[in-house]
Protein backbone atom coordinates (compact mmCIF):
# COMPACT_ATOMS: atom_id res chain seq x y z
CA UNK A 1 0.00 0.00 0.00
CA UNK A 2 1.08 3.62 -0.49
CA UNK A 3 3.00 5.62 2.09
CA UNK A 4 0.33 8.24 2.70
CA UNK A 5 -0.82 8.19 6.37
CA UNK A 6 -4.24 6.58 6.63
CA UNK A 7 -5.52 9.39 8.84
CA UNK A 8 -5.14 11.84 5.94
CA UNK A 9 -7.21 9.59 3.69
CA UNK A 10 -9.96 9.46 6.31
CA UNK A 11 -9.85 13.22 6.88
CA UNK A 12 -10.17 13.85 3.15
CA UNK A 13 -13.02 11.34 2.79
CA UNK A 14 -14.97 12.78 5.68
CA UNK A 15 -14.43 16.32 4.36
CA UNK A 16 -15.72 15.37 0.92
CA UNK A 17 -18.65 13.24 2.17
CA UNK A 18 -19.87 15.57 4.91
CA UNK A 19 -22.23 18.36 3.90
CA UNK A 20 -24.04 20.70 6.28
CA UNK A 21 -27.13 20.27 4.13
CA UNK A 22 -27.06 16.51 4.76
CA UNK A 23 -26.77 17.06 8.51
CA UNK A 24 -29.68 19.49 8.42
CA UNK A 25 -31.86 17.01 6.49
CA UNK A 26 -30.87 14.21 8.86
CA UNK A 27 -32.01 16.31 11.82
CA UNK A 28 -35.26 17.20 10.02
CA UNK A 29 -35.91 13.55 9.14
CA UNK A 30 -35.35 12.30 12.69
CA UNK A 31 -37.41 15.16 14.07
CA UNK A 32 -40.33 14.02 11.89
CA UNK A 33 -39.72 10.39 12.87
CA UNK A 34 -39.65 11.49 16.51
CA UNK A 35 -43.01 13.19 16.02
CA UNK A 36 -44.38 9.94 14.52
CA UNK A 37 -43.17 8.25 17.71
CA UNK A 38 -44.80 10.84 19.95
CA UNK A 39 -48.02 10.39 17.97
CA UNK A 40 -47.85 6.64 18.63
CA UNK A 41 -47.10 6.96 22.32
CA UNK A 42 -49.15 9.94 23.53
CA UNK A 43 -52.70 8.62 22.86
CA UNK A 44 -52.28 6.03 25.64
CA UNK A 45 -53.82 6.92 29.02
CA UNK A 46 -51.76 9.52 30.79
CA UNK A 47 -51.94 7.45 33.96
CA UNK A 48 -49.22 5.33 32.45
CA UNK A 49 -46.92 8.39 32.44
CA UNK A 50 -44.99 7.76 29.26
CA UNK A 51 -41.54 9.28 28.90
CA UNK A 52 -39.06 10.14 26.13
CA UNK A 53 -37.59 6.62 26.06
CA UNK A 54 -40.93 5.22 24.96
CA UNK A 55 -40.63 7.24 21.75
CA UNK A 56 -37.10 5.99 21.18
CA UNK A 57 -38.25 2.45 21.80
CA UNK A 58 -41.22 2.69 19.48
CA UNK A 59 -39.04 4.24 16.77
CA UNK A 60 -36.24 1.70 16.73
CA UNK A 61 -37.96 -1.51 17.76
CA UNK A 62 -39.26 -2.05 14.21
CA UNK A 63 -42.41 -3.80 13.02
CA UNK A 64 -43.46 -6.93 14.88
CA UNK A 65 -44.02 -10.44 13.53
CA UNK A 66 -47.77 -10.08 13.01
CA UNK A 67 -47.71 -6.37 12.22
CA UNK A 68 -48.36 -5.45 8.59
CA UNK A 69 -49.01 -1.77 9.31
CA UNK A 70 -47.43 0.35 6.58
CA UNK A 71 -47.12 3.26 8.99
CA UNK A 72 -44.98 1.27 11.41
CA UNK A 73 -42.91 -0.12 8.56
CA UNK A 74 -42.22 3.37 7.18
CA UNK A 75 -41.42 4.60 10.70
CA UNK A 76 -38.70 1.94 10.97
CA UNK A 77 -37.52 2.01 7.33
CA UNK A 78 -37.06 5.77 6.72
CA UNK A 79 -33.77 6.16 8.67
CA UNK A 80 -32.22 3.33 6.63
CA UNK A 81 -33.53 4.62 3.31
CA UNK A 82 -32.16 8.10 3.98
CA UNK A 83 -28.74 6.79 5.00
CA UNK A 84 -28.51 4.60 1.87
CA UNK A 85 -29.39 7.68 -0.17
CA UNK A 86 -26.92 10.00 1.57
CA UNK A 87 -23.87 7.84 2.10
CA UNK A 88 -24.30 4.40 0.50
CA UNK A 89 -22.76 5.78 -2.66
CA UNK A 90 -19.66 7.54 -1.31
CA UNK A 91 -17.15 5.05 -2.73
CA UNK A 92 -18.61 4.81 -6.23
CA UNK A 93 -19.03 8.59 -6.36
CA UNK A 94 -15.42 9.16 -5.33
CA UNK A 95 -14.20 6.54 -7.76
CA UNK A 96 -16.14 7.76 -10.79
CA UNK A 97 -15.76 11.49 -10.17
CA UNK A 98 -12.41 11.85 -8.44
CA UNK A 99 -10.74 8.45 -8.69
CA UNK A 100 -8.29 9.51 -11.40
CA UNK A 101 -6.92 12.36 -9.26
CA UNK A 102 -7.44 10.82 -5.84
CA UNK A 103 -6.29 7.20 -5.95
CA UNK A 104 -2.81 7.76 -7.47
CA UNK A 105 -2.19 10.35 -4.74
CA UNK A 106 -3.19 7.80 -2.09
CA UNK A 107 -1.01 5.33 -3.97
CA UNK A 108 -3.04 2.17 -3.50
CA UNK A 109 -6.49 0.95 -4.51
CA UNK A 110 -6.86 -1.12 -1.33
CA UNK A 111 -5.89 1.75 0.93
CA UNK A 112 -8.42 3.91 -0.86
CA UNK A 113 -11.12 1.25 -0.38
CA UNK A 114 -10.24 0.77 3.28
CA UNK A 115 -10.54 4.54 3.64
CA UNK A 116 -14.05 4.42 2.17
CA UNK A 117 -15.04 1.57 4.50
CA UNK A 118 -13.78 3.36 7.62
CA UNK A 119 -15.42 6.59 6.46
CA UNK A 120 -18.77 4.82 6.10
CA UNK A 121 -18.32 3.38 9.58
CA UNK A 122 -17.66 6.87 11.02
CA UNK A 123 -20.60 8.39 9.14
CA UNK A 124 -22.91 5.55 10.30
CA UNK A 125 -21.91 6.13 13.91
CA UNK A 126 -22.57 9.86 13.78
CA UNK A 127 -25.79 9.29 11.85
CA UNK A 128 -27.08 6.98 14.60
CA UNK A 129 -25.96 9.38 17.35
CA UNK A 130 -27.58 12.34 15.53
CA UNK A 131 -30.78 10.35 15.05
CA UNK A 132 -31.06 9.20 18.65
CA UNK A 133 -30.22 12.68 19.99
CA UNK A 134 -32.75 14.39 17.69
CA UNK A 135 -35.54 11.99 18.66
CA UNK A 136 -34.83 12.46 22.35
CA UNK A 137 -34.85 16.26 21.99
CA UNK A 138 -38.10 16.27 19.98
CA UNK A 139 -39.73 13.82 22.41
CA UNK A 140 -38.67 15.98 25.35
CA UNK A 141 -40.90 18.76 23.98
CA UNK A 142 -43.93 16.55 24.60
CA UNK A 143 -42.94 14.00 27.23
CA UNK A 144 -41.04 13.99 30.52
CA UNK A 145 -37.45 12.84 30.95
CA UNK A 146 -36.89 9.74 33.03
CA UNK A 147 -34.07 7.37 33.85
CA UNK A 148 -36.13 4.24 33.42
CA UNK A 149 -38.65 2.49 31.25
CA UNK A 150 -42.12 3.90 31.62
CA UNK A 151 -45.15 2.01 32.90
CA UNK A 152 -46.44 2.45 29.33
CA UNK A 153 -43.79 0.09 27.96
CA UNK A 154 -44.11 -2.33 30.84
CA UNK A 155 -47.92 -2.31 30.66
CA UNK A 156 -48.01 -3.79 27.17
CA UNK A 157 -48.10 -7.56 27.26
CA UNK A 158 -45.09 -8.02 25.06
CA UNK A 159 -42.89 -6.06 27.40
CA UNK A 160 -43.41 -8.38 30.34
CA UNK A 161 -40.28 -10.28 29.34
CA UNK A 162 -38.13 -7.25 30.01
CA UNK A 163 -36.52 -7.47 33.42
CA UNK A 164 -38.12 -4.86 35.65
CA UNK A 165 -34.79 -3.50 36.80
CA UNK A 166 -33.57 -2.84 33.26
CA UNK A 167 -32.37 0.73 33.02
CA UNK A 168 -32.83 2.79 29.90
CA UNK A 169 -29.08 3.06 29.40
CA UNK A 170 -28.73 -0.72 29.47
CA UNK A 171 -31.59 -1.08 27.06
CA UNK A 172 -30.01 1.33 24.61
CA UNK A 173 -26.54 -0.09 24.93
CA UNK A 174 -27.55 -3.72 24.86
CA UNK A 175 -30.23 -3.65 22.22
CA UNK A 176 -31.25 -0.63 20.21
CA UNK A 177 -27.88 0.93 19.45
CA UNK A 178 -26.07 -2.30 18.41
CA UNK A 179 -29.02 -3.50 16.35
CA UNK A 180 -29.65 -0.22 14.53
CA UNK A 181 -25.95 0.58 14.06
CA UNK A 182 -24.94 -2.99 13.16
CA UNK A 183 -27.68 -3.46 10.57
CA UNK A 184 -27.08 -0.01 9.10
CA UNK A 185 -23.37 -0.74 8.68
CA UNK A 186 -23.88 -4.27 7.31
CA UNK A 187 -26.46 -3.33 4.67
CA UNK A 188 -24.74 -0.08 3.64
CA UNK A 189 -21.38 -1.90 3.29
CA UNK A 190 -23.16 -4.32 1.01
CA UNK A 191 -24.67 -1.40 -0.91
CA UNK A 192 -21.27 0.29 -1.27
CA UNK A 193 -19.61 -2.92 -2.48
CA UNK A 194 -22.40 -3.62 -4.97
CA UNK A 195 -22.14 -0.06 -6.31
CA UNK A 196 -18.45 -0.68 -6.92
CA UNK A 197 -19.04 -4.06 -8.56
CA UNK A 198 -21.90 -2.84 -10.78
CA UNK A 199 -20.49 0.67 -11.19
CA UNK A 200 -24.04 1.85 -10.71
CA UNK A 201 -25.04 3.77 -7.60
CA UNK A 202 -28.76 3.76 -8.34
CA UNK A 203 -29.04 -0.02 -8.72
CA UNK A 204 -27.16 -0.65 -5.49
CA UNK A 205 -29.42 1.83 -3.67
CA UNK A 206 -32.46 -0.06 -4.97
CA UNK A 207 -30.88 -3.39 -3.94
CA UNK A 208 -30.20 -2.22 -0.37
CA UNK A 209 -33.69 -0.73 -0.01
CA UNK A 210 -35.29 -3.87 -1.46
CA UNK A 211 -33.36 -5.98 1.05
CA UNK A 212 -34.99 -4.07 3.90
CA UNK A 213 -38.48 -4.05 2.37
CA UNK A 214 -38.37 -7.78 1.61
CA UNK A 215 -37.08 -8.53 5.10
CA UNK A 216 -40.17 -6.84 6.51
CA UNK A 217 -42.58 -8.52 4.07
CA UNK A 218 -41.16 -12.07 4.21
CA UNK A 219 -40.96 -11.95 7.99
CA UNK A 220 -44.65 -11.19 8.55
CA UNK A 221 -46.20 -14.28 10.17
CA UNK A 222 -43.21 -16.44 9.15
CA UNK A 223 -41.31 -16.98 12.40
CA UNK A 224 -39.03 -19.64 10.93
CA UNK A 225 -37.43 -17.33 8.33
CA UNK A 226 -37.24 -14.14 10.39
CA UNK A 227 -33.77 -14.56 11.87
CA UNK A 228 -32.23 -15.25 8.44
CA UNK A 229 -33.36 -11.96 6.89
CA UNK A 230 -30.86 -9.04 6.90
CA UNK A 231 -33.42 -6.35 7.77
CA UNK A 232 -34.90 -8.37 10.66
CA UNK A 233 -31.66 -8.01 12.61
CA UNK A 234 -32.67 -4.49 13.61
CA UNK A 235 -36.29 -5.39 14.46
CA UNK A 236 -36.31 -5.73 18.21
CA UNK A 237 -39.97 -6.80 18.18
CA UNK A 238 -39.13 -9.89 16.13
CA UNK A 239 -36.43 -11.11 18.51
CA UNK A 240 -37.14 -14.15 20.66
CA UNK A 241 -37.25 -12.37 24.01
CA UNK A 242 -40.17 -10.23 22.81
CA UNK A 243 -41.58 -12.70 20.29
CA UNK A 244 -41.29 -16.29 21.59
CA UNK A 245 -42.68 -17.67 18.31
CA UNK A 246 -39.36 -16.76 16.68
CA UNK A 247 -36.85 -19.24 18.05
CA UNK A 248 -33.13 -18.68 18.50
CA UNK A 249 -33.23 -15.01 17.53
CA UNK A 250 -31.09 -13.36 20.19
CA UNK A 251 -28.98 -10.23 20.33
CA UNK A 252 -25.88 -12.41 19.96
CA UNK A 253 -27.35 -13.95 16.80
CA UNK A 254 -27.97 -10.50 15.26
CA UNK A 255 -24.53 -9.20 16.17
CA UNK A 256 -22.97 -12.34 14.70
CA UNK A 257 -25.13 -12.18 11.58
CA UNK A 258 -24.19 -8.55 10.90
CA UNK A 259 -20.52 -9.26 11.65
CA UNK A 260 -20.50 -12.14 9.13
CA UNK A 261 -22.02 -9.88 6.44
CA UNK A 262 -19.52 -7.10 7.17
CA UNK A 263 -16.50 -9.44 7.16
CA UNK A 264 -17.66 -11.29 4.04
CA UNK A 265 -18.20 -8.03 2.15
CA UNK A 266 -14.80 -6.74 3.26
CA UNK A 267 -13.00 -9.95 2.28
CA UNK A 268 -14.57 -10.19 -1.19
CA UNK A 269 -14.27 -6.48 -1.92
CA UNK A 270 -10.59 -6.37 -0.92
CA UNK A 271 -9.83 -9.12 -3.44
CA UNK A 272 -11.97 -7.45 -6.10
CA UNK A 273 -10.64 -3.93 -5.61
CA UNK A 274 -6.95 -4.93 -5.91
CA UNK A 275 -7.03 -4.75 -9.71
CA UNK A 276 -10.17 -2.70 -10.29
CA UNK A 277 -10.22 -0.41 -13.31
CA UNK A 278 -10.42 3.15 -12.03
CA UNK A 279 -12.17 4.36 -15.15
CA UNK A 280 -15.44 2.68 -15.98
CA UNK A 281 -14.99 -0.21 -18.42
CA UNK A 282 -18.27 0.55 -20.12
CA UNK A 283 -17.40 4.23 -20.64
CA UNK A 284 -14.09 3.09 -22.04
CA UNK A 285 -15.84 0.99 -24.67
CA UNK A 286 -18.26 3.79 -25.51
CA UNK A 287 -15.53 6.40 -25.67
CA UNK A 288 -13.32 4.28 -27.84
CA UNK A 289 -16.16 2.88 -29.96
Amino acid sequence: MGNVPFSRVIRLNVTTAFRWKSLLWTVVLFAVIGLFGVYEVVPYPTALSENVWDVLFVTFSGPGLVNDSLFEFVHWFLPYLFFFYLFGNIAEENLSQRGVSLIPLIGSRRKWWLGEVVTLLILSFFYVVTGVATILIVSRCFLPWSANLSPFLLSRGIWQAIPKDLTVAMLLLRWIFPLFFGTLVAVSFLQMALALQWRNAFLSFIAASAMMILSWLFGIRHPSVVRWLPGSQSMLLRHTFLEPQVRGFSLAWSLGYNAVIILAVLAVSFIYVRRIDIVKEISEIHKEA
Binding site: R19, Q97, P104, L105, V279, E281, E288
Partner: protein, 226 residues
Protein backbone atom coordinates in the same frame (compact mmCIF):
# COMPACT_ATOMS: atom_id res chain seq x y z
CA UNK B 1 45.92 5.71 -30.50
CA UNK B 2 42.46 4.66 -31.34
CA UNK B 3 39.77 7.02 -30.20
CA UNK B 4 37.40 5.38 -27.75
CA UNK B 5 33.87 6.61 -27.68
CA UNK B 6 31.44 5.60 -25.00
CA UNK B 7 27.72 6.00 -25.23
CA UNK B 8 25.58 6.14 -22.15
CA UNK B 9 22.28 4.41 -22.75
CA UNK B 10 19.44 6.73 -21.83
CA UNK B 11 16.82 4.85 -19.87
CA UNK B 12 13.35 5.43 -21.25
CA UNK B 13 10.88 7.03 -18.89
CA UNK B 14 8.03 4.98 -20.33
CA UNK B 15 8.36 1.58 -21.97
CA UNK B 16 5.51 -0.51 -23.36
CA UNK B 17 6.06 -4.09 -24.51
CA UNK B 18 3.34 -5.89 -26.45
CA UNK B 19 0.51 -4.17 -24.61
CA UNK B 20 -3.02 -5.28 -25.43
CA UNK B 21 -6.27 -4.36 -23.74
CA UNK B 22 -9.50 -6.24 -24.29
CA UNK B 23 -12.66 -4.95 -22.62
CA UNK B 24 -15.71 -7.19 -22.71
CA UNK B 25 -14.49 -9.01 -25.78
CA UNK B 26 -13.59 -5.86 -27.66
CA UNK B 27 -9.93 -5.21 -28.47
CA UNK B 28 -9.11 -1.61 -27.61
CA UNK B 29 -5.29 -1.91 -27.83
CA UNK B 30 -3.36 -4.58 -29.69
CA UNK B 31 0.32 -5.40 -29.27
CA UNK B 32 1.49 -1.83 -28.68
CA UNK B 33 5.22 -1.32 -28.03
CA UNK B 34 7.11 1.93 -27.74
CA UNK B 35 9.48 3.90 -25.57
CA UNK B 36 9.57 7.52 -24.48
CA UNK B 37 13.00 8.95 -23.64
CA UNK B 38 13.31 11.64 -20.95
CA UNK B 39 12.52 15.31 -21.59
CA UNK B 40 10.48 14.64 -24.71
CA UNK B 41 7.01 15.73 -25.64
CA UNK B 42 5.28 12.82 -27.35
CA UNK B 43 1.87 13.14 -28.95
CA UNK B 44 -0.78 10.54 -29.64
CA UNK B 45 -3.36 11.36 -32.26
CA UNK B 46 -6.09 9.39 -33.86
CA UNK B 47 -9.76 9.29 -34.59
CA UNK B 48 -12.34 8.90 -31.84
CA UNK B 49 -12.26 5.29 -30.72
CA UNK B 50 -8.72 4.65 -31.89
CA UNK B 51 -7.41 3.73 -28.43
CA UNK B 52 -5.24 6.77 -27.64
CA UNK B 53 -6.98 7.61 -24.34
CA UNK B 54 -6.89 3.98 -23.26
CA UNK B 55 -3.15 3.93 -23.91
CA UNK B 56 -2.73 6.88 -21.56
CA UNK B 57 -4.86 5.19 -18.89
CA UNK B 58 -2.81 1.99 -19.15
CA UNK B 59 0.42 3.96 -18.68
CA UNK B 60 -1.12 5.82 -15.73
CA UNK B 61 -2.07 2.54 -14.02
CA UNK B 62 -5.79 3.32 -14.11
CA UNK B 63 -6.51 0.17 -16.08
CA UNK B 64 -4.22 -2.82 -16.37
CA UNK B 65 -3.31 -4.32 -19.74
CA UNK B 66 -4.75 -7.70 -20.66
CA UNK B 67 -1.33 -8.65 -22.05
CA UNK B 68 2.11 -7.07 -22.13
CA UNK B 69 4.16 -4.89 -19.79
CA UNK B 70 4.09 -1.21 -18.95
CA UNK B 71 7.25 0.06 -17.28
CA UNK B 72 7.46 3.64 -15.99
CA UNK B 73 10.61 4.97 -14.30
CA UNK B 74 11.92 1.40 -14.25
CA UNK B 75 8.94 -0.08 -12.38
CA UNK B 76 6.40 -2.40 -13.95
CA UNK B 77 2.92 -1.03 -13.43
CA UNK B 78 0.60 -3.53 -11.74
CA UNK B 79 3.50 -5.59 -10.35
CA UNK B 80 6.19 -3.36 -8.85
CA UNK B 81 3.96 -0.29 -8.52
CA UNK B 82 0.21 0.33 -8.75
CA UNK B 83 0.74 3.78 -10.22
CA UNK B 84 3.79 5.41 -11.78
CA UNK B 85 5.88 7.57 -9.44
CA UNK B 86 6.24 11.32 -9.93
CA UNK B 87 3.48 11.47 -12.52
CA UNK B 88 0.90 14.19 -13.07
CA UNK B 89 -2.30 13.23 -14.81
CA UNK B 90 -5.13 14.90 -16.66
CA UNK B 91 -7.44 12.17 -17.87
CA UNK B 92 -11.14 12.48 -18.59
CA UNK B 93 -13.11 15.42 -17.23
CA UNK B 94 -11.40 16.61 -14.05
CA UNK B 95 -13.65 15.80 -11.06
CA UNK B 96 -13.56 18.57 -8.48
CA UNK B 97 -15.83 19.27 -5.54
CA UNK B 98 -18.18 21.78 -7.07
CA UNK B 99 -19.05 23.50 -3.80
CA UNK B 100 -15.44 24.56 -3.16
CA UNK B 101 -13.20 27.07 -4.90
CA UNK B 102 -10.51 25.87 -7.30
CA UNK B 103 -7.75 26.62 -4.80
CA UNK B 104 -9.55 24.80 -1.99
CA UNK B 105 -9.91 21.77 -4.25
CA UNK B 106 -6.18 21.71 -4.97
CA UNK B 107 -5.35 22.26 -1.30
CA UNK B 108 -7.53 19.32 -0.38
CA UNK B 109 -5.81 17.04 -2.90
CA UNK B 110 -2.38 18.33 -1.88
CA UNK B 111 -3.17 17.53 1.76
CA UNK B 112 -3.03 13.80 0.94
CA UNK B 113 0.74 13.76 0.39
CA UNK B 114 1.43 17.00 2.22
CA UNK B 115 4.48 17.70 0.04
CA UNK B 116 3.49 21.12 -1.26
CA UNK B 117 2.04 24.16 0.43
CA UNK B 118 -0.18 27.11 -0.38
CA UNK B 119 2.62 28.97 -2.16
CA UNK B 120 3.12 26.23 -4.76
CA UNK B 121 -0.63 25.89 -5.24
CA UNK B 122 -1.00 29.63 -5.84
CA UNK B 123 1.87 29.55 -8.31
CA UNK B 124 0.50 26.68 -10.34
CA UNK B 125 -2.99 28.23 -10.48
CA UNK B 126 -1.47 31.47 -11.74
CA UNK B 127 0.66 29.52 -14.23
CA UNK B 128 -2.44 28.20 -16.03
CA UNK B 129 -4.01 31.66 -16.15
CA UNK B 130 -6.47 31.38 -13.26
CA UNK B 131 -6.81 33.62 -10.22
CA UNK B 132 -5.79 31.87 -6.98
CA UNK B 133 -7.93 34.36 -5.01
CA UNK B 134 -11.06 33.54 -7.00
CA UNK B 135 -13.51 32.57 -4.24
CA UNK B 136 -16.23 31.30 -6.55
CA UNK B 137 -17.11 27.62 -6.24
CA UNK B 138 -16.04 25.35 -9.08
CA UNK B 139 -19.69 25.01 -10.13
CA UNK B 140 -19.47 28.61 -11.35
CA UNK B 141 -16.42 27.86 -13.52
CA UNK B 142 -16.64 27.53 -17.29
CA UNK B 143 -15.56 24.24 -18.91
CA UNK B 144 -12.33 25.89 -19.99
CA UNK B 145 -11.57 27.05 -16.43
CA UNK B 146 -12.17 23.54 -15.09
CA UNK B 147 -9.82 22.21 -17.75
CA UNK B 148 -7.15 24.73 -16.68
CA UNK B 149 -7.65 23.75 -13.05
CA UNK B 150 -7.23 20.11 -14.08
CA UNK B 151 -3.91 20.99 -15.72
CA UNK B 152 -2.87 22.88 -12.58
CA UNK B 153 -3.65 19.81 -10.51
CA UNK B 154 -1.56 17.62 -12.81
CA UNK B 155 1.37 20.03 -12.46
CA UNK B 156 1.18 20.90 -8.77
CA UNK B 157 3.15 18.02 -7.22
CA UNK B 158 6.22 18.68 -9.42
CA UNK B 159 5.86 15.60 -11.63
CA UNK B 160 8.63 14.24 -13.85
CA UNK B 161 6.13 12.66 -16.22
CA UNK B 162 2.90 14.24 -17.43
CA UNK B 163 0.05 12.27 -18.96
CA UNK B 164 -2.40 14.69 -20.56
CA UNK B 165 -5.52 13.56 -22.37
CA UNK B 166 -6.59 16.31 -24.77
CA UNK B 167 -5.32 19.10 -22.50
CA UNK B 168 -6.31 21.89 -24.88
CA UNK B 169 -9.88 20.72 -25.50
CA UNK B 170 -12.43 23.26 -24.25
CA UNK B 171 -9.79 25.99 -24.14
CA UNK B 172 -9.95 29.28 -26.00
CA UNK B 173 -7.02 30.55 -28.07
CA UNK B 174 -5.44 32.29 -25.07
CA UNK B 175 -5.75 29.12 -22.98
CA UNK B 176 -4.19 26.99 -25.72
CA UNK B 177 -1.22 29.38 -25.97
CA UNK B 178 -0.73 29.32 -22.20
CA UNK B 179 -0.78 25.51 -22.12
CA UNK B 180 1.65 25.24 -25.06
CA UNK B 181 4.08 27.65 -23.36
CA UNK B 182 3.82 25.78 -20.05
CA UNK B 183 4.53 22.46 -21.78
CA UNK B 184 7.58 23.86 -23.58
CA UNK B 185 8.93 25.29 -20.31
CA UNK B 186 8.41 21.98 -18.57
CA UNK B 187 10.25 20.15 -21.34
CA UNK B 188 13.21 22.52 -20.88
CA UNK B 189 13.22 21.55 -17.20
CA UNK B 190 13.57 17.89 -18.22
CA UNK B 191 9.99 16.79 -17.77
CA UNK B 192 8.62 14.11 -20.07
CA UNK B 193 5.17 14.69 -21.50
CA UNK B 194 2.79 12.32 -23.22
CA UNK B 195 -0.34 13.99 -24.56
CA UNK B 196 -3.22 13.14 -26.83
CA UNK B 197 -5.13 15.34 -29.21
CA UNK B 198 -7.40 14.68 -32.15
CA UNK B 199 -5.62 17.61 -33.81
CA UNK B 200 -2.52 16.30 -35.60
CA UNK B 201 -1.39 19.82 -36.48
CA UNK B 202 -1.34 20.88 -32.84
CA UNK B 203 0.74 17.85 -31.91
CA UNK B 204 3.22 18.44 -34.77
CA UNK B 205 3.58 22.03 -33.52
CA UNK B 206 4.27 21.17 -29.89
CA UNK B 207 5.66 17.60 -29.83
CA UNK B 208 9.04 16.05 -30.61
CA UNK B 209 7.44 12.82 -31.78
CA UNK B 210 3.88 12.13 -32.85
CA UNK B 211 2.25 8.72 -33.07
CA UNK B 212 -0.93 7.92 -34.92
CA UNK B 213 -3.22 5.46 -33.17
CA UNK B 214 -5.69 3.50 -35.23
CA UNK B 215 -7.77 0.50 -34.15
CA UNK B 216 -5.53 0.00 -31.16
CA UNK B 217 -2.31 -0.04 -33.22
CA UNK B 218 0.47 2.54 -33.17
CA UNK B 219 1.93 4.10 -36.34
CA UNK B 220 3.95 7.17 -37.25
CA UNK B 221 1.50 8.88 -39.60
CA UNK B 222 -2.15 8.65 -40.55
CA UNK B 223 -2.58 6.25 -43.50
CA UNK B 224 -3.46 8.99 -46.04
CA UNK B 225 -0.23 10.85 -45.26
CA UNK B 226 2.13 7.88 -45.55
Amino acid sequence: MEEVTTTVAVKPVVMLEGVSKVIRGRTILEDVSFEIPPAQIVGLSGLNGSGKSTLLKVIGGFIYPTEGRVVVFGKEIGKEAEFPDKTGVLIEKPGFLTSMSGRKNLELLASIRNEIGEKEIREVITLVGLDPDDKRPVRAYSTGMIQRLGIAQALMEHPELLLLDEPTSNLDREGITIVHNVLRDLKKKGITILMTSPNMEELRYICDTVFWVENGHLGKEPPQMQ
